[in-house]
Every structure is written in C-alpha cells, then in structure tokens.
C-alpha cells in the first residue's frame, strides 16, 4: 500500500472511531497584513565558480575542450578553423563566408535539399559562421542522433560538393542579403565603422558577408579552393559540451575524421590585425546619409584592451558601468533621463591582438545634436573613473552572466569558442571572474583612464538634410560623407 493510501486509511479510521468533537469557537479575525516598508537586505553569496572544461587531443592532434553535462540528452559541438574573411581575395570580398555556407548545401552523396532533409530528419542543427579570423562550425543534436550527426558533419567538412547550380543560387541569395543589410541603418553604421576603423586596404575592413561585387565574382571553383586551403584538421580546435563523455566522443570523432588530411597547403595564416586603434581610428568622423530616416544612428568606436592586456578584465567592468546594463551611464542618461532613444549601450569587443569599445544608440532625428553632445560628454567622462557603486554593480553583473552561461549548454560552447578565438586558455572565464572579483573602483578607474574619445571613430547615419548641421555643430571636426548604399569613403 502506498504511503498516501496508508494516510487515507488512518484518516478514515480516525473519522469513524472518534466521537463528534464539540464545535470550535470562531477564530478571531486575522489582523490585516502590512506590506514590509523597506526592501529586504541582500546577503551576497559569491561561492559559486564556473568549472573549466577538460582539455584533450582529438583528430590530427587538434585540441578538444570538453565539458560533460549530463541531464538533457543534448550535445553541442563546435569546430574552429583559422582563417576567416580576412583571407578573402581583394577582388572577391565574401568568398570565405560563401565558401563556408556551401559546406551545408550539398555534401557526400546528398545534394543540397537531401542534405538539409537528412539533418532535419534527425533534428540536427548545423550552421557555419564566418568571422574575420576564423570559421566556426556549430552542431547541436540529441545524444542519440550524435553518430548520424557526425556522419553528416564529416560529409560537410570532407566532401562538400560546391555544385555550380547551387553556388549560383546561393550567390543570388547572398547578394539579396547584402542589399537587405544596406537597408538597415544600424548594420550600415556597423559596417562603415569597421571599414574606416581598419582602413580600406586592410583585409579586415570589409564585412565578413562580403560585397555584392565580390560575391558575384566568385565561382564554384574559387569557393571550393577557398575551403580546401583552410580545411586543415591539424589547425582546427574542437569544443564539445553536453551529455557525452570525452572518451566516447573522441572515439566517434576518430572513426569519422581519423584519416582526414589536408589536400592543399595551409593558407590560414593571416596578416596581423592592427593592434589597438586602426589606421584611421584617430579621431575619424563619418556621416552616412540615410534620406527620410526618423532616427539617427550614433556609433563610437574607441581603442581598448587586447585579450592579453592585464587591464582588460578591469577595463571590461568599466565598460559595463558605461553601457553594459540598463542603469549604466549611457542608457540612464540618453533613454531614462532625456528620452532621446529606445536604448543606448556600450561593450568591449576583443579579437586576437586588439580590443575596441563600441558605444551605440539610435536617437530621434530632431534631437540628434543634443544627443551627440551628451554621448560625447559621457564618453569623455568615463576615463575619469567609476564609483564604488558602479564597480560593485559591474562585478555582480558579470558574475550573473557567468552563472547564466554555465547553465546553458550551447551558451557554454559559444563561450569556449570566444575564448579560443581571442587566444585565451580554456579556464579563461574562471581566471577573469577571479580577477574581476578583486577589481575595485580604483583598479577599474585605472583601466578606463586609457580610453580616449578623441582617439575614437564616430559614425553617424541619418538624414543629412535634417541633421548635418546639428552633428557638425555638436562635434566639430573633419567629417567624411558617405552614401548609405555603398558610396566610397573619400580618403
């Protein structure tokens, strides 16, 4: 008999066996509850720390970072190939990314549709993202489907078809996508910003997705060759997070990739990206005309800390205080106090050998001048330092970020990818958290003192007829003017 049945039986016996009890006197009315006037005091508990993944060797002795996550029967796998859009030929910007995309558009015995159907049948998610310095292949699937998923992955990486009709179709879609990107003022601000930041001649300057002219200049042969030159198993890095043991996974990888060897000379070596400020980042000012726009995009890029810079962690906390949370300086001023915008934010972007603080907001056209004045003032003020309150908030925010990432399988996988891409060790997050926990306002202030608005690049995308005068009055300087649909930047 179940415990519940036992309790019911006892209750029945008691009901039958007991004489009827005299009626209880009516209970006095409960006093009305009073809402606690002050908020409760929070007692912090900072005992949690993330667990670093274990390090192994796998295919062609390439490194594998592995985090075992039993629970939901899911696995996330990431493979990083060095290279990226910085390898694009000068006349074919976008070739690397389009070549990467073709890996999933027909491989092995399957054409594009059959390959897509095979993935879907087993509920396998397989994507390729091209960065400036690397290609990242991402696969998520159930543990049960992992063998099939790895078979398909092996086809994609080792036997992509690059069929000419599919290349033509993909090119047409990508050209359309580039047109769509040019219609979006925020994307335009970002792409123009990076282009000026690096300088036109830099292999890092163009959008990773390429240009319309560059995409149209690619062929099935150039795309195939692009992948052959980058698909070097010994240069790859692997990341796995989920419901599988490392030994089991390595065995599965070896079975499918153990005899994989490169067919072309490794061409993944990149020219070093400009460290710190790009060639034109010293006080660059760019105006992009977006006729009819009701808002103006303001975007500022300032040279900051590279991943290996000892000040990076403290500096990042300073950037959180500047624009990383809802109550941070930029959002508090431009949105909550002045109502110029729906939101304003800032963040630190790092890559191999460089770091950039990017602040951005979209403001109502009619307040472009005052908004730019206020944004400029805040960015000029941040090198003066942060308060203890701001420092504490930034530390707590980063700590919560870490807890949330650790709770997420694919979030952890993506974090490990970002560590690998920036050249950090697999326990980089743990090291950052420990370092960050010790960073007080003085340490953070010391780090952010190196930020310089005047060394930074300002990009404004708006209706020049309506905002140009306000912009140049709010921030006098040598402004370059650009057409939103790709007009050349005057040098």
């Amino acid at each position: 008999m179940s415990p519940l049945s036992n309790r019911l039986l006892v209750a029945c016996v008691l009901l039958v066996g007991c004489p009827k009890a005299p009626p209880a006197p009516p209970a006095p009315p409960a006093p009305p509850k009073v809402f606690p006037v002050t908020p409760p005091v929070v007692t912090p508990d900072d005992s949690w720390m993330p667990t670093a993944p274990s390090a192994h060797k796998t295919v062609a002795s390439a490194p594998l970072w592995h985090a075992h996550r039993p629970g939901l029967p899911l696995v996330s796998l990431r493979i990083i190939f060095p290279g990226g859009s910085a390898l694009d030929p000068v006349d074919r910007p976008g070739e690397t990314a389009l070549s990467d995309a073709m890996l999933l558009r027909g491989a092995g015995e399957r054409d594009s549709a059959a390959f897509s159907a095979a993935l879907q049948t087993e509920a396998i998610s397989l994507h390729v993202n091209t960065h400036r310095t690397a290609t990242v292949v991402s696969m998520d699937c159930t543990t049960q489907a992992l063998p099939t998923a790895l078979d398909l992955l092996a086809d994609a990486l080792r036997a992509p078809r690059f069929a000419s009709d599919e290349v033509e179709r993909a090119t047409q879609q990508w050209v359309q996508s580039r047109k769509d990107a040019a219609d979006d003022p925020r994307t335009v601000a970002s792409e123009v910003g990076w282009r000026v930041w690096y300088g036109d001649d830099s292999p890092y300057a163009h959008p990773t997705q390429g240009t319309i002219e560059g995409l149209e200049a690619t062929t099935a042969e150039t795309l195939s060759r692009s992948w052959s030159r980058r698909s070097h198993p010994a240069q790859a890095r692997w990341v796995a997070v989920g419901d599988i043991e490392s030994d089991q996974l390595i065995g599965m990888l070896e079975a499918r990739f153990g005899d994989w060897s490169a067919v072309e000379t490794d061409a993944s070596a990149l020219p070093p990206p400009p460290g710190g400020a790009g060639p034109l980042a010293t006080g660059g000012r760019v105006l992009v005309d977006n006729p009819g726009a009701s808002q103006t995009v303001l975007r500022v890029m300032m040279p900051a800390w590279a991943p290996a810079d000892p000040m990076r962690v403290a500096g990042d906390l300073g950037v959180v205080a500047l624009g990383g949370t809802f109550t941070s300086r930029l959002n508090a001023l431009l949105r909550e106090e002045k109502s110029y915008t729906y939101g304003a934010r800032a963040g630190l972007t790092v890559g191999p050998g460089y770091g950039v603080v990017i602040a951005s907001t979209n403001v109502f056209r009619d307040v472009t001048g005052p908004a730019l004045t206020d944004l400029t003032a805040e960015l000029r003020r941040i090198p003066e330092g942060v308060t203890e309150d701001e420092a504490g908030k930034a530390r707590a925010s980063r700590r919560t970020d870490a807890i949330e990432v650790a709770a997420s399988r694919d979030g952890t996988a993506d974090l490990l990818v970002s560590l690998a891409l920036s050249g950090s060790p697999q326990d980089g997050q743990l090291a950052d958290l420990k370092l960050g926990a010790r960073a007080d306002a003085a340490a953070i202030s010391s780090a952010v003192s190196m930020l310089s608005f005047d060394q930074g690049l300002v990009v404004v995308v708006g209706d020049l007829d309506k905002v140009e005068e306000a912009v140049t009055t709010a921030l006098p300087g040598d402004w370059q003017r650009v057409n939103i649909h790709g007009g050349d930047i005057p040098q």
């Binding site: 159907a117 879907q120 219609d183 979209n362 309150d389």
Partner: protein, 467 residues
C-alpha cells in the same frame, strides 16, 4: 511582443509572438519517445486570498532564480483612442513606487547582479526578473511592491519620459526598420474596425501622445490586480522559504475585483483588404500572404505549425523547393503560424528574385499551398518536421526563464500550467489529414496580400516590382 529594453534585432508586431513561441518551443511537435515521456516542468500551485495564482518550480541545477509575473492584459484590451497603451504602461511599471522611488527597481536589482525585462503582446504583458539565488527575497519584494501601489507614485513627468522612449521604440523597430511598414499596416488590413486586434501593439504616435496620468491610474486599477496575474518562481530556492516571503509581501496586497471582460468577438474569417501595396526605403520588393486561422490551442493550431514547417523549414521544404530551387523566382521564403488568444494569423512572406515580381511568387506559393491541401504531406515530410519541432522544444526547455514563462502561458491559455505533456500530444496527433485540412484554410479566396516596393527614385517609376 514588445520588449522593454531594446532587442538586438527589430521585432515586428506579429513576429514577436512567434519569436516568443519559438523560443519557448511552443511551436513543436513531440519529443523523441523516451524524452517525451519524461518531459515536464514540475511545479506546485496555490492561490492567495487576494486571487494571485502562485506557481513554484524548483531546480537546483544552477544558482539562479527567475520571477515571472504575467498580467492577463494586452493590446486587445486597450480603449479606443489609446492604442499602444498596454505597452506604454509596461514601461511605466519600472518608474518607481512610493517605497522604492524613481529608478530604484533597476538600481537595487542590478546592484546585486539581477536584471529584468518585460514584453507586451496583443494578449498579455509579461515581466521577468533574473538573478543569483540569494536575490530572490528582494525580487519578490520589488515585484509585489509595484503590484501593490505603482499608480500612487505616477506623475506626468514619468509618463512624458516613457512616452518618448516608446515613440523612439516605434521609430527604431518599424519606421526605420526595413519593411516595417508592412507590420504597421497588417492589423487594419486583417481586422475590421473595432476588433481588439485591429491596431498595432506599439500604437500610433497620436494615441501615445494622448495618454494621461488618469489613464495610467485607471489602467492599473482595472488590470493590474492580483486576481488578474500569475506569479512563477523558478530555480534554486527553498519553496517553504519562498512561500513565507510571498505571503509577507503579495499576501498583504488587498484583493481587488478581477477585471470584467467583454465577450470575445466573433471569429474573423476574411481580411478587410485583399491587396495592399506600400513603399519603403528598401532595395527589393517583398510580399506577405496572410490568413485568419484558429486561435492558440484551438483545433487546427498545431497542424498549422506543422504546415509552416513543411512549407519553409530547410531547403527540402515545399516553398523553398518550388520557388527558390526550381523556378528560381524567389530568394527567400518564410511561413509561420502566429498563435493568438482570439484568433491566429498565418503568414507567408516571399522575396522575389531579380527579374521576378510579387504576383509571380504569390501564384507559385499559392499553387504549393493548394497542392499540400489536396495531396497532403509525405510521411517523411511529416516526420522530419515533427523531429525538428521536438528538438526546438527540448532546447527551449533548457532555459529556466523559458520554463517560468511557459507555466504562466499554459495557465492563461489552457487553464493548466502543466499542459506541457498535452501540448506535446497535440503535435504528435497531427497526421496527414490534419495537415491537409489546415492547408485548406490557406486558400486564395481567404487571403490578404501586402506588397512592399522600393520607394521610387527620381529615375524610376513608382510601380515597384523586383528591382
């Protein structure tokens, strides 16, 4: 769904609902058999004397907690001349109370590592707070505090500031967002004047400017009452301790009458305007084909989710195969069932390739819909669409925040927070005949079409077509 803080990408009016459902894994079929049997969101539920429904979902896997508060009020409940008000009110909920004035809500939360956001849809308004476990008592106090007395601290100055923030949200998410004009036009094209869905969630500038402090107080008094809300606490906490904290805070909020609701309008079968042509600052034309479909969780709703997958998911899908691969007349295809409380919308969007026009791709897409309604899906199509949906579901359930919101959504829309297993069953039960019946709803005679063309330039005519 309109988030309080700026999203990373603009979110169209109806798409927001879908994005939410997709994130939650609602648009799913059934999980793999073994996993499906185990999938559930354990919770305990009770109701306070003031009518607030409380659900506790304990998960000690990670030292974090989520507090999700769902108010059963959305844009459909707005008064005439006050479009956008439910969403504007959502913003005002963060503007401080007598006990915690000004921006204290955000400041206190962030000081200890918490963060929050909220969204408003046609049907509901949902607030969520996320933070480390030790923050739970504060999160509960702050949420209860504003449920108790937000309106008493409302001022003209607060209203004016958030009104301008929301108007900037409208500019950013629609007016300056490519093809945003289509989403702004959609409600009036689909619904007759006076229907609760006949206006956008974001509202018009004119109506936003007309909102008053009296409106705010009345809206709060009417809709933001404990009996019209659901509270979910999820994550790493002691349920008996949480009960005590909830009792001390929410338990002291006086009961107020639950809002009286008008009878739901009759289901709308046909759109108001069959064809609408618009222009925007874009380089290529795009077309949207729209149909009225059954409400969320009604018969046919799950089948239409499956139909959307068969039509557009992957390069083996029907629309992709016919319009992108075979004819080459489109570069992008998309389909989705946007499930809503009073009646849903099915949307197919198509981007004509260079040299093709909107009418051509609409004709080809309609032919595919007819073929699906006549012949039905293949067994393989049905199986792989369900497999993908089930994976989406499984992945969605990983996130604590998703589970918290899902309990509230199921409670409001089905009356059962534990509806997860039944939800899986309803997708699992969709067969070929159900798909045919669902696809048959998507007929040419029942549809509306919105075409958006590039704005004419000085050297081009205004007729549009693919450029």
């Amino acid at each position: 769904m309109f988030p309080r803080c700026s999203p990373s990408v603009p979110v169209p009016a109806l798409a927001i609902c879908s994005a939410f459902c997709s994130a939650l894994g609602l648009a799913l079929a059934f999980a793999p058999p073994a996993a499906a049997q185990e999938l559930s969101i354990p919770y305990e539920q009770y109701t306070l004397d003031n009518g607030l429904v409380v659900m506790l979902h304990v998960d000690h896997a990670s030292p974090q907690v989520v507090v999700n508060t769902w108010y059963d009020v959305g844009a459909k409940d707005e008064e005439v001349g006050r479009t956008g008000f439910a969403h504007l009110f959502e913003h005002l909920m963060f503007m401080g109370t007598t006990r915690l004035p000004d921006n204290g809500y955000d400041v206190e939360m962030e000081r200890h590592g918490g963060w929050n956001n909220a969204w408003t849809s046609e049907d509901a308004t949902d607030y969520y707070d996320v933070g480390p476990s030790h923050l739970l008592e504060l999160l509960l106090w702050m949420e209860a505090d504003r449920m108790d007395g937000l309106s008493t601290a409302m001022t003209q100055e607060k209203l004016d500031r958030q009104r301008e923030v929301v108007r900037n949200e409208r500019r950013q998410s629609y007016e300056d967002s490519p093809y945003g004009v289509a989403w702004l036009a959609m409600p009036e094209i689909l619904y007759p004047s006076g229907h609760p869905y006949a206006h956008t969630v974001i509202g018009s500038h004119e109506d936003l400017e007309a909102a008053t402090v009296d409106d705010v107080v009345r809206f709060f008094d009417t809709w933001y009452v404990p009996a019209n809300a659901g509270l979910v606490v999820a994550g790493d906490f002691d349920p008996s301790q949480a009960r005590a904290w909830i009792d001390a805070t929410y338990g002291s909020i006086p009961a107020r009458p639950a809002p009286e609701r008008a009878a739901p309008p009759a289901a709308v079968d046909l759109p108001v305007t069959p064809l609408t042509e618009l222009t925007d600052q874009v380089q290529a034309s795009r077309t949207w084909m729209l149909w009225h479909t059954p409400a969320a969780f009604a018969e046919g709703d799950a089948a239409l989710d499956i139909v959307s997958g068969i039509l557009h998911s992957g390069r083996a899908s029907r629309l992709y195969g016919a319009l992108v691969t075979e004819s080459g007349h489109a570069t992008e295809v998309h389909a989705a069932q946007y499930s809503q409380q009073l009646g849903s919308i099915f949307v197919v969007s198509l981007t004509p390739a260079e040299g093709a026009d909107c009418a051509t791709v609409e004709t080809e897409a309609q032919a595919e819909l007819t073929r699906l309604a006549t012949d039905g899906p293949t067994g393989e199509e049905l199986a792989r669409t369900k497999a993908k949906l089930s994976m989406d579901f499984l992945q969605g359930l990983e996130a604590l925040q998703t589970r918290a919101s899902l309990l509230n959504r199921y409670r409001v829309l089905t009356g059962d927070p534990g509806f997860l297993a039944k939800d899986l069953e309803r997708y699992g039960a969709v067969d070929a005949e159900a798909v045919k019946a669902a696809a048959a709803m998507l007929s040419e005679s029942r549809r509306a079409v919105i075409r958006v063309h590039p704005e004419p330039t000085s050297d081009a005519d205004a007729d549009g077509g693919a450029q």
